[in-house]
Symmetry: C2
Subunit: 210 residues, 2 copies
């Protein structure tokens, strides 16, 4: 979109820039140089300037960057100026916690529905939402047209439900299962959160660094 394809490494740094700039703004910073930002974030000034220049010229020579302008620009690049309607599949422990814990609106999404198959969960409140029967997914999607979904369902159900969602027009997934969505559906965007792999990586570090 903006320019040519932006590398994944750059994209993954954008949310962190956005956060840091927010904190700087709150602490009253008006301008900041790439050098000073680099110091605060543990990066190099070169990298920061390279990153920002993927999207245009946000700074001013001899001055640096205007903190709130820069933050707004990055926010726009990240799509945080609008909200994508999103639904939750699987309102068990993890799904519920995610739904309650995350501030969706500030991350560019709007959580508009939650689904489960467990009769003990269906009908219960989850914040503003009521957990619906997964059987009613088609009806809901026809009406509300969510384009993103959180997958907090068991591994075995993931393949089937992912295909179902893709069929209903959902093309963005926040995936907490180990199902390899990307390998079977090439036309969707997927953000994987593999908590088990994350903890396993920590195990490696613990057993190696000492």
């Amino acid at each position: 979109m903006s320019k040519n394809a932006i590398s994944n490494s750059v994209i993954r740094r954008l949310p962190r820039y956005h956060r840091f700039l927010g904190e700087l703004e709150s602490s009253g910073y008006v301008r900041i140089s790439s050098r000073e930002l680099a110091e605060k974030m543990g990066l190099t000034a070169s990298q920061i300037r390279q990153d920002f220049n993927c999207f245009g010229e946000f700074g001013q020579q001899g001055y640096g960057y205007n903190v709130s302008d820069l933050r707004a620009q990055i926010g726009k690049i990240l799509g945080l100026d609008k909200q994508t309607p999103m639904i939750l599949l699987g309102a068990g422990n993890l799904g519920k916690a995610i739904a309650r814990h995350i501030d969706f609106r500030s991350k560019g999404f709007d959580l508009i529905g939650a689904f489960d198959v467990d009769p003990a969960i269906i009908g219960r409140k989850l914040g503003e939402l009521t957990v619906l029967d997964l059987a009613d997914l088609e009806k809901f999607c026809a009406e509300h047209k969510p384009s993103a979904a959180i997958l907090c369902i068991p591994q075995q159900a993931a393949e089937k439900e992912a295909a179902r969602l893709v069929g209903l027009g959902v093309h963005a997934f926040w995936n907490f299962t180990h199902y390899d969505l990307k390998l079977t559906h090439a036309d969707v965007v997927v953000e994987n959160v593999h908590l088990g792999d994350s903890l396993t990586t920590l195990s490696y570090s613990v057993n190696t660094i000492e």
Copy 2:
């Protein structure tokens, strides 16, 4: 330890190899070639061989790799053959869900304690555990010597509690807060799970790919 420093990119692929090999083992695979494994995992055969060779020679020319041997070797590299005692700080929505959702033992850890400051939460059951008062952390650590901790506490409390834990001998963190542990404590290992950043990245993709 094993050989020279292993790159982070390689380490992050190990848990996934371990998982895939487990699935292959369950489906009855006895041997597999790098080519076939690459196909299944969406990698290249070269990369797989390079990755494994960081740690030694696990295969056999003309044959390939023995699935269960290879899995065991990788498990050992990841430290999954022993359990590091771990505690949870913050037994709110997210902390509870993590504690219940994760199979700690198979990931190289043993969850032995959970702490909170909220009187409404202290004393409640969390699986086998009872949530303890965070004020009793020193006593608990002196007795049980946990060396790892999960941080599911509010951002504002993170800095103080992290320092406290480091002082009590905890040197590995599974960090769900946005506090930059690594910048203030160089002598600890940290695995960050920044769920907000992850969702923000998805927002970028949703708004760009189409």
